[in-house]
């Protein structure tokens, strides 16, 4: 059964089970492997994409629920203003260690920055608490979000 998805500014036709999670359609059917499989239960955030601008766990989102909506993945997020700032800060602070969780982290951070241009520590921890980093790059995740937001250390958010 064919489903049409709007992904990264393009219409993509996918012939797959409507119950197939968006994560696996991205990875297997659309050659977009930047979105990662970590838990399959929406617990780790490695699979985070934007659906209509909201950070969404693609591993528990069947494509039938994503049809007709605007989907953005890590491969395209740097074309968004907030995504560009976040991506640049991520590189500047060398946030990744193993890097596996970082696409999901960047998607969540971009969604945060788009809705809250100057997040404080509490807002950052709350927005990022769904994304696990096993290497524990958390201090740099906080710092990179602040840098992307133009917040310098020592000033009030």
């Amino acid at each position: 059964m064919a489903t049409t998805l709007s992904i990264n500014g393009k219409e993509r036709r996918v012939d797959a089970d409507p119950q197939k999670p968006l994560l696996w359609v991205l990875r297997e059917d659309l050659a977009l492997p930047g979105t990662k499989f970590g838990c399959g239960m929406g617990l780790c955030g490695a699979c985070t994409v934007h659906i209509d601008g909201k950070a969404t766990r693609s591993c528990i989102t069947p494509i039938s629920a994503a049809a007709g909506k605007t989907i953005t993945t890590i491969e395209y997020v740097a074309t968004l203003p907030a995504g560009q700032k976040i991506s640049e800060a991520w590189i500047a602070l060398d946030v990744p260690q193993c890097g596996y969780c970082q696409p999901g982290q960047i998607m969540s951070a971009t969604a945060l920055l788009a809705s809250t241009p100057r997040p404080d520590d509490k807002a950052i921890d709350a927005a990022m608490s769904g994304n696990i980093c096993r290497c524990a790059t958390y201090l740099r995740i906080r710092a990179a979000i602040k840098q992307a937001a133009g917040i310098t250390e020592g000033t009030e958010a």
Partner: protein, 731 residues
């Protein structure tokens, strides 16, 4: 040098000539950490490109420890090129060509610090010799820098690209004799270099094992017998095969014990999701009665019985600990326990393989490729030379990928479906259940102090897991376990409980549990001596001297002076004022030596009314030798290690064995540290000492665990003698 080696060298040069001018040479790899073992290999790490950029091979698996950036830094420094000229390529697995390739034990720095630099320096020397011959001048009158050779007197300059063809014809120098730079002249080593793959990671590029793409790729999900060591009694796969999209059902060995019988069933489909969904229709009767008798409750009862009985075996015996304890002015005793832990790498175990014409090509996220090659050769009945192993970037190692179960499994699946590349992926539940766990451990301590508060005797009855009286992998304790070598009377004994649980190495193996138990207990002993732990350790360390530590590959010298220096350093950094705390705020300290690194850490915690513990700030002082090679990565490794230790202590990590199998299924019941567990700051400083540089992937982890436990005691008056911390017990 023999003819055979020269032939190899020529063929290597020929092979690498494709794609441009190539400089190739022999590299004798000296294994600093395992001196005396035969370890002479041929190699080619460097390619000079036509645009005068340089491609450097990175030989070790990259698991997030930064080795893909760091080893090429060593080569580039001595080659004398600018870092901006350098491209880095991951090599394949071939330890005869590249020397040891592993990610583990914090070994890469001590093993490669000299050989990689010598590799770069040897290439530089060949380029200089080529220029000297071309210009008919003495090599000693030439200088290098930025990928160029210069003769100042005649104002002549040639790029490495212009010299590469001539250089490749130069005799390969004896790398043990090539001069190396004075560290004061370093321009790359000691300067922060961001991870080579960072931009690609941020862009979502395919880098990891799970991202491997091959034409015609098919996918496998696997049902492994839940109870470790169980086998297939009967299999009914008719319903699975009737589902659309299923290509094959393949009974295989799980790879957990490749010499055992079949104990897994692979489902192969065009889509991994389709294969995994089909597992619901598999009907397998497992022959697992013997395996199912094992449980955490049984191990707990076994530990209690072991303590009543006394140790089965002696680990260390110095003096007469019983007699010294009988005469001690004060005695302290306590039992400590830590649980089984899973690794929980965020990238689930996976592997890709293509079997064709009796050969197999593998794309493996493995920390230890060559043992995987041996296992695959044995499992498939093919020669090791018929196996090609490509090394992918790895989404977290932590010791899990020292085991190659996934490689053994995917090789069997690929052999059953020749000509089709197949990718095996574990679900998160598979990954947590079929781990090689950090073994649980129990310690029964007894210490004696003399009237002056000096530690005169220490006993430990260590209980862990094993088989037939032999410890399981990772369930060992060395006779030199700190502070044994500093005391006059020591008795360490062990009991290994019969177990079916696959165990292995978790980041800072052994040390992550032992540091907690020993340094937690020593804080109790220090209190009895009316001292704080830093001062108690200073007195126990005594005069500056060097003693033996560890055994086998982990054997190292332990310097009491270096230990004391990091203790003093962290106390100064944190403004340590002795034991302090109360009303839910507390400060703790610990020191530990592991993987040749000395680390002392101070932790501030807040314990709230519900018993929840927040680590507020951590100070880390470390000594890993004379040179921090990549400062930004060193900071990241230390900070990550600290939060990893926080995770082991505070977020509820506790794998239980029920019916012969781990009972954890996902991150709700085996939690990892989330951002709110991270302290606001982790301050790291290094004490530089006149010693060769050593590794940083692990040694910053062990001290943080007892430091947290000791901080909780300072905050609440309650000792944490079992991990993980249970908030209700702190109320």
């Amino acid at each position: 040098m023999t003819d055979t080696l020269d032939m190899d060298r020529r063929s290597l040069i020929k092979a690498t000539l494709i794609g441009g001018l190539v400089l190739s040479f022999d590299a004798r790899m000296a294994f600093a950490a395992t001196a005396g073992q035969p370890a002479t290999v041929l190699n080619a790490f460097i390619r000079i490109n036509a645009d005068n950029s340089v491609t450097i091979g990175a030989k070790n698996p990259e698991i997030g420890q930064g080795i893909k950036t760091m080893l090429p830094m060593l080569i580039a420094e001595e080659l004398d090129v600018d870092w901006a000229q350098v491209h880095i390529e991951q090599t394949i697995a071939d330890d005869k060509r590249y020397g040891a390739q592993l990610a583990g034990g914090s070994f890469a720095t001590p093993m490669n610090w000299l050989p990689m630099r010598q590799t770069g320096a040897g290439a530089r020397q060949m380029l200089v010799q080529a220029a000297a011959a071309r210009w008919n001048v003495e090599a000693a009158t030439l200088t290098t820098g930025g990928g160029k050779v210069t003769h100042a007197a005649s104002k002549r300059t040639a790029t490495y690209a212009q010299l590469a063809a001539d250089a490749a014809r130069q005799a390969a120098p004896d790398l043990t004799k090539v001069p190396l730079k004075d560290p004061a002249a370093f321009t790359i080593i000691g300067r922060s270099k961001p991870g080579v793959d960072t931009p690609a990671i941020v862009a979502g590029k395919p880098l990891f094992g799970i991202d491997v793409a091959q034409p015609g790729l098919i996918h496998a999900a696997v049902e492994i017998c839940p109870a470790y060591g169980g086998t297939i009694r009967s299999l009914d796969d008719a319903a699975v095969k009737a589902r659309p999209g299923i290509l094959a059902v393949v009974p295989i060995n799980s790879g957990y014990d490749p010499k055992g019988a079949n104990d897994a069933v692979a489902i192969v489909a065009e889509s991994w999701w389709v294969a995994d969904q089909a597992r619901a229709d598999l009907k397998i009767a497992w022959a697992d009665e013997a395996a199912r008798q094992y449980s955490s409750a049984g191990f707990e009862a076994g530990a209690t019985a072991a303590f009543a009985k006394g140790p089965d075996a002696s680990i260390a015996k110095i003096g007469d600990a019983d007699k010294a304890l009988a005469g001690a002015a004060k005695r302290v005793s306590a039992r400590y326990h830590y649980p089984f832990l899973a690794h929980g790498t965020l990238e689930p175990q996976n592997c890709t393989a293509l079997f064709k014409d009796g050969q197999i090509e593998i794309w493996a996220p493995t920390q230890l490729p060559e043992p995987g090659r041996a296992l695959v050769a044995a499992a498939l009945g093919i020669e090791p030379a018929a196996i090609t192993i490509n090394l992918t970037r790895i989404g977290g190692g932590f010791g899990r990928r020292l085991s190659n179960d996934y490689m053994v499994m995917v090789a069997q699946i690929a052999k059953a479906l020749p000509g089709r590349p197949v990718k095996l992926i574990y679900t998160r539940t598979d990954d947590l259940r079929h781990d090689f766990f950090r073994p649980a451990g129990w310690h029964g301590f007894e210490a004696g102090l003399d009237a002056q508060g000096k530690l005169i005797a220490l006993k430990d009855h260590f209980v862990s897991l094993g088989k037939d009286g032999k410890p399981s992998q990772g369930a060992t304790m060395d006779a030199t376990e700190f502070p044994a070598q500093l005391l006059e009377h020591v008795a360490y004994g062990a009991t290994y409980l019969d177990s079916n649980v696959p165990t292995g190495f978790l980041r800072a193996p052994m040390s992550n549990g032992l540091s907690y138990a020993f340094l937690g207990f020593l804080d109790e002993v220090a209190l009895a001596a009316e001292l704080d732990l830093p001062e108690f350790l200073r007195r126990t360390l005594g005069e500056p001297r060097t003693i033996k530590s560890g055994a086998g590959p982990m054997a190292a010298e332990f310097s009491t002076a270096r230990a004391r220096a990091v203790i003093d350093k962290v106390c100064a950094m944190a403004n340590w004022q002795g034991r302090s705390g109360g009303n839910g705020k507390g400060r703790g300290f610990a020191f530990y030596f592991s993987h040749r690194g000395y680390f002392a850490e101070v932790v501030d915690v807040t314990v709230n009314r519900g018993g929840g513990v927040q680590v507020d700030k951590v100070w880390v002082a470390g000594d890993v030798g004379s040179q921090i090679i990549n400062p930004i990565n060193a900071l990241h490794q230390a900070q990550g290690s600290v939060i990893d230790g926080i995770a082991q202590t505070l977020v509820g990590q506790n794998v239980q064995i029920v019916d012969g199998s781990a009972n954890r299924t996902n991150f709700h019941d085996f939690p990892l540290a989330r951002i709110n567990a991270a302290p606001r700051d982790i301050v790291v400083e290094f004490v530089l000492s006149d010693n060769p540089p050593t590794g940083l992937g692990e040694p910053a982890l062990p001290p943080v665990i007892p430091a947290i436990a000791n901080a909780i005691f300072a905050a609440t008056g309650k000792r944490v003698r079992s991990l993980p911390v249970v908030p209700a017990q702190l109320v």
